[in-house]
Symmetry: C2
Subunit: 685 residues, 2 copies
């Protein structure tokens, strides 16, 4: 309390910096930063606990700008508080290779927790951060050692609230009673199309109360700093509900156009900026100016944060004495490394083992490794019994008051909320102590495309357990049978798509997914049983592609994934018996990983001189990169018993052989058939 001119100087400095940077870039969004500067000042300077010199300190408060287009607010704050964001960086806002990109990117900018901009994601990430905080606290805090008690704060705007993903995550947050989550809703009545009354007239307060949130209203977000402080305090005190502060603000406060959508998404005019600076006591002829008092004020708070971290480090040292193994576990987790030897827990199979559905093989992996990887936390979007994501004896992550579990539980009941699950996983992964996984049918991973894109861009390690991965799911029919899904995510940069063919390949998929610190993975798993292959080992499969059946003097290479590899292998015999043709078989469970192998290795798998045919019961798009001909399904599937459906579309040894013979005939006339691995030039990656 007791706000003075000094506070308003800081607030107006943020506003002027936002105006200057968007003007220099001639691009960007000044309105939100100018409108939210007061609450940002109160939150960052009065409440938030952080050390700009170590943006990765575990117990820092997390801040998520869900309305990421307002990122000049965040960049200005990071700069003013002394993060490694310089004034020169602010001047390069929205130019190539700047750390101040058009929207906040966590892997580029120190102090940015998660990558935002696509609306609705940030607040959903915040739910994930709060889940991770609650779980980490329940796991590691001990009497006298409140190691983890940070808050997660998020700013969000009307756009974030209109997006369904935020509704999914917010409903779950209410159910989970995440008391350390505090969202501040910038209620400025403006979205890009103009006044929110043209499309967004629902009662947000009532909706969030319906979700089980605690909601406070602050009527004057432009001036009432005391009111904002009081509201945040009140929210901190509510420990069994997430909180939202509905804060009425004026977008672009200070601009001649304040309160209109014209300040939302484009720079202010030069004249407007001049009057703004005059009004706020700045020199209208100067740009990118920060009064020393503002630096002093903010650096003082930063120093308090640094001191708090120092205290915490001492606490953590003492913790080591009393809780040696917990200390070691937490310290290890923070490095991102897995425990030494963990991979010995991965199941290994021989061809004598039973045919098993790969979703079941995945369950076995989870069951075997959960004990050695305590950082593994996951669940399903209401398909637990189908995705087989829950190991026996798992405890649900639930508020203890429900009697269904507690916060140390590692099994998450996401409900039918795939997109929310994806965005929450991004938040859990970003927290730094956990590796999340989430299950749904492969077809419904697409519901979460917006979140998965950000997993990939922001380099989060997490795993989608994507079962029922093809027409092989059978009776549920075309509405549930993926055709385009693998292609979609294979085309997404930094996203590993796995489709294992048997037990060893399933173990390999998990091995690579868990050891790839900066890449999300989607593991596509069958509903139907798959035999254990003769030629598969974990060591081979972790290369992303390998020869599962070699043949001297082969006439053709059959290349496949998942449930079709065993069909390809059966085709070898069929071709020999019926056509006198020799076939070799290659399995490529993961394009992304195979592409990263040496050219020499890839050519040994897909050699020159032999025509090749891919076999996968979905879109052929993308397979042309590896094979000369493609057998797939460039149409929707069918509802029926899976064997009938495979037969209908000729995914049988006979059907494959027919295409193999055509392939051999077609390429016969071409001398020295060149492997598609050979390329004229390197791709930009």
């Amino acid at each position: 309390m007791g706000y003075t001119e000094k506070d308003w100087l800081a607030i107006n400095t943020i506003r002027v910096l936002a105006a200057d940077a968007t003007a220099k870039a001639n691009s960007g969004h000044p309105g939100a930063p100018m409108g939210m500067a007061p609450v940002a000042h109160v939150l960052f300077n009065k409440f938030m606990k952080f050390n700009p010199k170590n943006p990765k300190w575990l117990n820092r408060d997390r801040f998520v700008l869900s309305n990421g287009h307002g990122c000049m607010l965040q960049y200005a704050l990071l700069h003013l508080f002394g993060y490694a964001v310089t004034m020169d960086d602010l001047k390069t806002f929205r130019t190539v290779d700047s750390i101040c990109a058009g929207h906040p990117e966590s892997h580029d900018t120190p102090g940015v927790e998660v990558t935002t901009g696509p609306l609705g994601q940030g607040i959903s990430n915040a739910v994930g951060l709060a889940i991770a905080q609650a779980h980490t606290a329940a796991t590691f805090n001990k009497d006298g050692f409140p190691l983890v008690d940070n808050y997660t704060y998020s700013f969000l705007g009307d756009g974030c609230l209109m997006e369904g993903v935020s509704g999914e995550a917010s409903s779950l947050a209410g159910h989970l009673q995440l008391g350390n989550l505090i969202a501040i809703y910038d209620d400025n009545h403006i979205s890009i199309d103009g006044d929110t009354n043209c499309a967004f007239t629902e009662d947000v307060v009532k909706r969030y109360e319906a979700y089980g949130w605690h909601v406070v209203i602050v009527d004057d977000g432009d001036h009432d700093l005391e009111g904002m402080e009081k509201a945040i305090k009140e929210c901190q005190a509510v420990k069994d509900k997430p909180s939202m502060i509905k804060l009425r603000t004026t977008i672009g406060f200070g601009s001649l156009q304040q309160g209109t959508h014209s300040v939302h998404g484009s720079a202010l005019k030069a004249d407007d900026i001049k009057q703004l600076k005059k009004k706020f006591g700045f020199n209208p002829e100067e740009s990118f100016v920060v009064p020393q008092e503002v630096y002093d004020q903010y650096h003082k708070h930063a120093a308090e944060g640094a001191a708090a971290e120092e205290e915490w480090n001492k606490l953590f040292s003492n913790y080591a004495n009393k809780y040696k193994s917990e200390h070691a576990d937490l310290s290890r987790r923070l490095t991102g490394d897995l425990p030494e030897g963990w991979e010995k827990s991965l199941p290994v199979y021989t061809p004598k083992d039973d045919a098993i559905a790969s979703r079941k093989l995945s369950e076995t992996v989870l069951t075997k490794i959960e004990g050695v990887l305590p950082e593994l936390i996951g669940g399903s979007a209401d398909l637990t019994g189908s995705n087989l994501t829950r190991w026996k004896g798992a405890v649900d992550f639930q508020p203890p008051s429900t009697g269904l579990g507690d916060y140390s539980g590692r099994y998450l009941r996401y409900g039918v909320r795939e997109h929310g699950m994806g965005a929450i996983m991004n938040g859990i992964a970003a927290y730094g102590t956990l590796i999340p996984f989430g299950g749904t049918f492969l077809n419904f991973v697409s519901y979460a495309a917006g979140a998965i894109r950000l997993s990939s861009l922001s380099q989060q390690r997490l795993i989608w357990v994507a079962t029922h991965d093809s027409i092989g799911l059978g009776e549920d029919g075309p509405t549930h049978q993926p055709i385009e899904t693998l292609t979609h995510f294979r085309a997404l940069p930094n996203c590993m798509v796995w489709r294992p063919a048997d037990g060893n390949e399933t173990s390999a998929a998990y091995y690579v997914a868990l050891t790839s610190k900066h890449t999300p993975s989607i593991i596509a798993l069958s509903r139907q049983n798959l035999p254990q292959l003769e030629g598969s080992t974990i060591e081979k499969a972790i290369k992303g592609g390998y020869v599962t059946h070699e043949a001297e003097g082969a006439d053709i290479t059959l290349v496949s994934t998942g449930s079709e590899v065993c069909i390809a292998i059966d085709t070898v015999k069929y071709l020999a018996d019926n056509h006198g043709l020799k076939a070799r078989v290659v399995s490529i469970p993961c394009f992304e990983v195979f592409d990263a192998q040496s050219k020499e290795y890839r050519l040994s798998v897909l050699p020159d001189g032999i025509p090749s045919l891919s076999i996968e019961v979905m879109s052929t798009m993308g397979w042309e990169r590896y094979t000369h001909e493609q057998f797939g399904l460039n149409r929707f599937g069918a509802s029926g018993a899976y064997k009938d459906v495979y037969k209908k579309f000729e995914f049988t040894p006979e059907g494959v052989a027919k295409r193999a013979v055509a392939t051999v005939d077609f390429w016969k006339s071409v001398p020295n058939v060149r492997s598609p691995i050979n390329r004229a030039f390197q791709q930009l990656i």
Copy 2:
């Protein structure tokens, strides 16, 4: 009112049929049909207006089973009321080529309005159906001629309510005050993971009231037929709000396992079915039995529906006398044909015309054709000024009470709700009188992947106006720059993805999109200006691919789309000047349409004997189908001015030429280079 044994016999017949069909298929979901049979009976037999002999009658009430897994309920009803769904069809439930697929598919099954199963979609489609109804009524109804006054009813379950897409659509439905929309929520406390208290404890009534809905609660959905009837009547009477009836039911009512999730997704055991039949007075030794009284009762209601249609047909004839042009317009719309000569309104360009961004070219198309295509109705997900989707003078589709427009308006303010928009467009298209379009950035079309998949599967004509289609959007950066998006939707069957290079190609994209009655389209449009090409015409571009620059004795074919075609053309000169190489240029604005051309034509565009290089600033995946080498961006983009970003990634004549030279060199040693158009066998499509 006055329900008797006769009613319960009908209800129990539905339950027994659902049990029999799932048992015969040994697959499917008996629980929802058995729980919802009472309300289905009341709704269909007391309220709904339909003629089974003409499932396409315009003014029929629409029914949407949003919890589509309960489809045996719908199939049973369709059969019992006399639609073209026979008892033999019911017996083939969930087998290959049955019209009773695992989830309801509108293009396969008479009487199914929209394709459901993927949760949250159906109720959102219902919002679209209700929008279409309100708009069609406002446009065509006249004093004494209430041509269109049907209701849209939808059943939905917990899963639908958890999905964000339904929240988006429901919020908009409340804003739009869609009084003829009535949703019935099957509140059975069960989802796949078990009791809803493990993940779904929000206050649904309060949430829907927050959206502006009228909500009624019926406590005993298992027995209280009078209460259900009363509730539906009450909802019909509320004309300025959509309504929801929260109906407490027992899932799998009658089963020994009733009220548990074990009846949700698998067939009942034989013993259980026997006791069920005994309890309901059926012979436990017989299956698929319908008492004649049930047929009689339902056929009576169907006959009333047929009579109502006959009445309506008379009304419509009289309407013809008084409102000749409206009658002609509506009659034409119902055929799906466009007005003769409409295509003359499409703008045509010559190379002398200015360079224009294709999003702006799209705006011009919409502006020129809206007058001749009154069935065109559309909007944007809060990006109107960026998508340029609103023609001058357009009236907003808004409740008149808002003062912002009226129901005859053709411009929809969707808010930031891409997925909701996609699902709503499916409903609008399914109504039968309108062609919807919707705008957002191409990158955020992915948020709607779940809905677009169903547009394609259920063959709905609608258009995504997808602007800011590449790194060419510039400063907004990687969070907004699509890389994988075109590949994703190109891999989706029956989805046309267009990326026009100039004005004529933009007109062609709209031409094909609008004349393809059974296919959705995504038109990817640039933010940056594009020159009008020398070689482009509408006639050429509607083939999906064509030669835009021919060269005798060419050394290479450059193949491109959209904003990169003009770079390819500039590369022709660069290659000639600097490398003495001759290049031809091909534009392929739409793979799907190009693939449908004759092989002869495709080979004339991409001939044998010339190596080819594709140029597109996004994922190269899929281009291997058309070209020998690919220049693209298999990584995320960058934030900066668009020219700087293109330069960074070498999408310049120099950068393309470098790859073109490498391509020519690489393929030099191969005699008679074969065009990728040649394939060993035909794909399954």
